[in-house]
């Protein structure tokens, strides 16, 4: 079976197959062959991976879409998207989205309480200027303008509790 795996910037194609003895092999894009033994360590999320007898423990958390995984390895988290050959061809047909509009959204980096909104609609701001103060886990966090611009929208008020990634202010 061929799989396209997409991770950070790169996509690469690997082949996985079982030999007649039942052992699993993986062929890397550069032609390298590796012997793998991938088995459940605990539940359906913690796996033991022996790759050319090198031992690794891997945690796999399935994502929203089929084939998406959050992979944790030695304390590092990777987002991986796996597609079969057929899924890969289908995906290449989907129209690409273009989100570039010149707007910048200032989002809440974590859930918390908005204690101060320091800007109003129409105001011009410098890069680095304080936009809002968000209190979370008992700490005050200042949110600053990522670039200079004009405030196009203010979506929250001081005193409001917000979820992570809530768009607080739109900058143009």
């Amino acid at each position: 079976m061929f799989y396209y795996t997409e991770i950070s910037d790169g996509t690469f194609k690997v082949e996985i197959y079982d030999d007649p003895t039942g052992a699993t092999h993986i062929r890397m894009p550069d032609g390298r062959e590796r012997l793998v033994d991938f088995d459940v360590a605990l539940g359906e999320d913690l796996f033991s991976l022996l790759i050319d007898n090198q031992s690794h423990e891997v945690h796999l958390e399935p994502g929203e879409t089929r084939g998406d995984y959050e992979v944790t390895l030695d304390g590092q988290i990777y987002q991986v998207k796996v597609q079969t050959e057929r899924q890969h061809r289908l995906a290449s047909l989907a129209p690409r989205q273009n989100l570039h509009t010149g707007e910048i959204q200032v989002k809440a980096p974590m859930p918390g309480l908005v204690t101060i909104i320091a800007v109003e609609i129409g105001q011009t701001v410098e890069q680095g200027q304080r936009i809002a103060v968000l209190e979370a886990m008992k700490m005050e966090n200042e949110l600053r303008a990522p670039k200079a611009g004009t405030i196009k929208a203010v979506n929250v008020q001081a005193g409001q509790t917000v979820e992570q990634n809530k768009v607080l202010v739109i900058l143009e």
Partner: protein, 515 residues
């Protein structure tokens, strides 16, 4: 070891790992335990481990763990005759200690007068001065407004620290380097202090840089005996939150240790201190030390002292509150080996230490020689934003510093927490760094030393392995065959494509045909 005479049942007015720590000490001493919990903590380990548990109220601390009235009501209802406040929450509220006294409940901590005197940072400085403890340049009173703060700062010279009188635990503190920053800093410190402590008074102190944070652990009984258990090195801090502590400190020798210890004991006597407490000092590179503050409670980092002195500080707190005499004198305290503690927080070191919130899917705790884990997490634990991001404390002991470091490194590698991001990779970087290994670090090092900045590049990139693992998971699923109850990409049982939707499948086939 003597068990307790007066204390029969202890209410633990806290949550998380410290509530568990206190429950364990109570068990060791054969006394019953009562847990209190917020709605968010129904499944917490402290609730499950205690003999009894009572609901306090909604998740926010002000509606639960800070509700003195409810906690006292539960103490009465459950028949608890003693109360341990842990750290944080109500642990340094004199009025709470006093309310316990009035209700006939033994408060496992200092008398309210001592909490009051040392809790007000300005009064604490006056106490320290009276006991002959050296003080950091600054003023012994609060600044009324930012203009006064600016005047004091100009007099003692920048940089200065604005500190909340009621502050502690690193909250309510700001560094000001330039005169034009003082107005904003004064405002935000006051606001944070009102929010966190209900009191906005602040004072000004000279900021000493390139200093170490060294603290002395004290134990004092009700019979006038006060001993110190030596120092802890707590210089590695981020935004005034300690992240790694050790005992002893490589900056002290026996002479300086006894000198600082004696001064700490004198300050404790001056204020009539009883139970466990800590005096925090700043230590300069030319071995001058200055009083910073006293914490009139158990400290987060108490285990490092426990491991090198073989004294169970929480059990001692219970014995002292029980009215017993300390079973050891100053000369009986012998430090052996080296201990390091890493605070394991749900913060992402590679994203400006943003709190990581979510469900801990699975955790694999480290074990083995020299390792202690004080933890409150379990598989399925929800990390919420209501409380402190500290999940656990990992403590390593070795015969010397080198062995303690190696063991800690081994334990950090073993320790796996899945589902959220943690500070663990940063601890690994820190322990391996040259400044840490040489002991060449100060209270500002995490903010200024390039070698101590979280560096994602320094990490071994394993993206190829991660990609292989994910591909193998998909392959494994495919091999298991359609209809098998294995999880698929969206976490639900896999179903063969053919039964998902005939129409969807038809559409896909049509699209592919057009390629």
């Amino acid at each position: 070891m003597s068990k307790l005479n007066r204390i029969k049942k202890v209410l633990i007015a806290n949550r998380g790992e410290i509530a568990l720590r206190v429950i364990r000490a109570c068990r060791d001493l054969g006394v019953a335990t009562v847990a209190v919990y917020s709605e968010a903590d129904r499944h917490s380990l402290h609730v499950r481990q205690a003999d009894e548990a009572y609901l306090l109220g909604p998740a926010p601390a002000k509606d639960s763990y800070l509700r003195m009235d409810k906690i006292l009501e539960i103490a009465k209802k459950s028949g608890a005759n003693a109360l341990h406040p842990g750290y944080g929450f109500l642990s340094e509220r004199a009025e709470f200690a006093r309310a316990c006294q009035k209700a006939g409940i033994i408060f496992i901590g200092p008398p309210p007068e001592a909490i009051e005197a040392m809790g007000d940072k300005v009064r604490a400085k006056q106490v320290a001065r009276a006991a002959g403890v050296p003080l950091v340049p600054g003023i012994d009173r609060e600044a009324a407004d930012w203009q006064e703060a600016a005047a004091v700062a100009a007099q003692i010279g920048y940089p200065v620290l604005i500190k909340a009188s009621a502050g502690g635990g690193g909250k309510g503190m700001r560094i000001v380097r330039q005169p034009d920053e003082i107005e904003a800093a004064f405002g935000s410190t006051t606001r944070e202090a009102i929010g966190a402590f209900g009191y906005g008074g602040v004072y000004i102190e000279k900021l000493l840089e390139h200093v170490k944070h060294i603290e002395i652990q004290l134990l004092a009984d009700t019979h006038g005996n006060v001993v110190h258990l030596g120092e802890r090195e707590c210089s590695l801090q981020r935004r005034n939150q300690k992240i790694l502590e050790e005992a002893p400190s490589s900056a002290l020798d026996e002479e300086l240790r006894q000198q600082m210890g004696a001064v700490a004991v004198a300050a404790a006597r001056q204020v009539g201190f009883v139970n466990a407490g800590t005096i925090e000092f700043l230590l300069t590179q030319d071995r001058q030390f200055y009083f910073m503050e006293m914490n009139t409670r158990l400290q987060v980092e108490h285990p490092v002292t426990e491991l090198i002195t073989n004294i169970d500080i929480v059990a001692e707190q219970l014995r002292i509150a029980d009215g017993q005499t300390l079973s050891f004198r100053q000369e009986d305290i012998i430090q052996r080996g080296w201990a390091i503690e890493c605070r394991i927080t749900s913060e992402d070191p590679f994203n400006n230490f943003l709190p990581s919130i979510g469900t801990i899917r699975r955790t694999v705790p480290p074990t083995g020689p020299g390792i202690r884990l004080d933890s409150a997490i379990y598989d399925g634990y929800e990390v919420s934003l209501f409380y402190d991001p500290m999940l656990a404390k990992l403590i390593a002991w070795g015969i010397d510093r080198e062995e303690a470091i190696s063991r800690m490194q081994r334990a950090l590698k073993e320790y796996q927490i899945f589902g959220i991001r943690t500070i663990i990779p940063f601890h690994e970087q820190l322990l391996a760094s040259e400044p840490f290994q040489k002991g060449d670090f100060y209270t500002n090092s995490l903010e200024t030393a390039p070698a101590l900045k979280p560096d994602p590049e320094a990490r071994h990139d394993q993206s190829e392995l991660a990609a292989i693992a994910a591909a193998l998971a998909v392959y494994r699923r495919a091999k298991a065959g359609p209809g098998s109850p294995k999880i698929n990409g969206n976490g639900s049982p896999a179903t063969p494509n053919s039964v998902q939707s005939e129409w969807k499948e038809y559409g896909r086939r049509e699209m592919l045909r057009r390629i």
